[in-house]
Symmetry: C2
Subunit: 290 residues, 2 copies
DNA sequence: GAGGGTCCATCAGTGTTGCTTATAGCAGGT
DNA sequence: ACCTGCTATAAGCAACACTGATGGACCCTC
């Protein structure tokens, strides 16, 4: 199965048109038609209907495999080039917003003090994007955060042989409105909040809570952003509860944070990297992991 | 990056010889030489030294990516073909030995009763092999087991879009010799067994215990087999402790099983499958998951 | 030192592949 | 009926991938 044909297939399926895919890929319609025919002949299956150009069930299944496969191919190339590259001082660090907490920021500052020539560009994005950027060589290092049991690795998308190192863990709190009946408690258990209204957020996916505790945790509102200020305002206004790292609630915040006692969970930050030959990136990774 | 060239590269590296790789792949030495040159030109790197033919650091990095990549390509092909295939009654079920406990076996028997034409071949192998066989289409369904927190999915190798369903969970016990000082306890905590001697086994990798509890758990002996009878004899003879599902210790066994109270862990069995069009395999999967 | 064997690199020749251009057929709209 | 847009197919040609031959390097034996 040729990745070249796979790329063509994915592009055609996205556009629903041979001609449009040809334009995007810089081929003629005829070449595209022949490439799709070759892929279909190789597998002995019809992968796309014609008029309209839509994937068959088998084609849909192949599409599910194609994107991760093509990403992994890009990752392999990037990682090999990285393993052989000369050290650079200008680095890109991809991070989820909440991954750069005070501990991590302090270590970053220490790294800058130790390496005067270090030049770091910090890019924030979602957890999946962090993994992809590092894998594809678009970022030198990644920082990803999430909810996990203590010392339990985060579940990141697998993009090939990549190293993850846990670098920070912090207690979680349940963020409640200040006037919530449970706001005065010393600690809370998730099992007692099963029927409360919750916010669906990237940090606190409700499916994860259901995995840990069981059914419940209705999503009253979904917030796909990462801005803590907005999140706290949504909580304070009564839209729903969420879990946050304790340091994310400054004194005087609109919402109140009550420590989570059960199940035993933490906000965990992990460093991601591929090949790490000696140089600035390796030094930065070491300092961030210290 | 062409998978064809990758396959050649992997084969040459394995043999340490262009000529031997040529013989295995059915090409001439000249073709192999040109393929490796093409791959090196594509990446702009020397991947293999010559005389002796050994991977460079960059080549070694590429080898780490190559095997999973090639497996995923095979998996994509197999899964697409499976999605489009006609239903068959002759199925292959790949399972780790301890995954087929009494609950699972009973469900399998129920499936056979419900589908008189069902013909299942059960193949036992290691956890990684289960995932690979299912991914590559060599098995229709897989059953894998391991130690996990309740409701926490097992960590299986990622071979592409595959579905895993937890189908059984069972308490774990610490297997001790009958005359062990702790054998009479009602329950045990792992933290109290940190300095005991342990067996390194596929089911109970000591690295996992260290992740959960911390340093310790010295490996007194490694047993790579899966035979519970042998394992119990090793325990009874004082070679070391291990964790086993409670049902694995029959009455009168040579070793004694004491329930594990902390941390909260279970023996978990999961069903693995790729594309599952309507038919015997889908019916079997449904019955096994019930 | 001479001779022989093994192994990889490179060249020339040849069949295969992958692209472009041209054309045919189909569907939908006016 | 005519026009437009779209995909399939055929023919032509450059590029690619393989084989067979050859050269050079290295090692071993006499």
């Amino acid at each position: 199965m040729d990745p070249h044909l796979l790329t063509t297939f994915v592009t055609v399926a996205r556009h629903g048109s041979f001609s449009a895919a040809a334009a995007e890929l810089g081929y003629t319609q005829s070449a595209i038609s022949q490439q799709i025919a070759a892929l279909e002949a190789d597998l002995g299956l019809v992968l796309l209907g014609r008029r309209p150009v839509e994937p068959t069930p088998a084609g849909r299944r192949l599409l599910e495999h194609a994107e991760p496969l093509l990403l992994r191919l890009r990752a392999a190339r990037a990682d090999v080039l990285r393993a052989a590259a000369l050290p650079r001082h200008r680095l890109r660090l991809a991070a989820t917003p909440l991954a750069v907490n005070a501990v991590v920021a302090a270590r970053l500052a220490r790294a800058r003090a130790q390496q005067p020539r270090l030049d770091v560009t910090l890019v924030t994005c979602g957890r999946e994007q962090v993994a992809a950027l590092v894998a594809e060589g678009e970022a030198d290092l990644g920082l990803a955060d999430g909810i996990a049991a203590p010392s339990d690795p985060l579940r990141l998308p697998d993009t090939g042989p990549m190293t993850t190192v846990g670098i920070a863990e912090e207690d979680l709190v349940v963020a409640l409105p200040g006037d919530h009946p449970l706001a005065g408690r010393a600690a809370l258990r998730l099992a007692d909040l099963v029927d409360a209204r919750w916010l669906q957020t990237p940090l606190c996916p409700l499916a994860r809570l259901r995995d840990l505790v069981g059914d419940g945790f209705p999503a009253a509102l979904e917030y796909q952003g990462d801005d803590v200020h907005t999140l706290l305002n949504l909580v304070a206004a009564g839209h729903g509860l969420t879990l946050l790292p304790s340091s994310a609630l400054p004194a005087g915040a609109a919402a109140r944070g009550v420590p989570l006692a059960s199940p035993r969970l933490v906000h965990r930050v992990e460093l991601l990297h591929g090949a790490l030959p000696p140089g600035s990136a390796a030094d930065l990774a070491r300092t961030l992991s210290a």
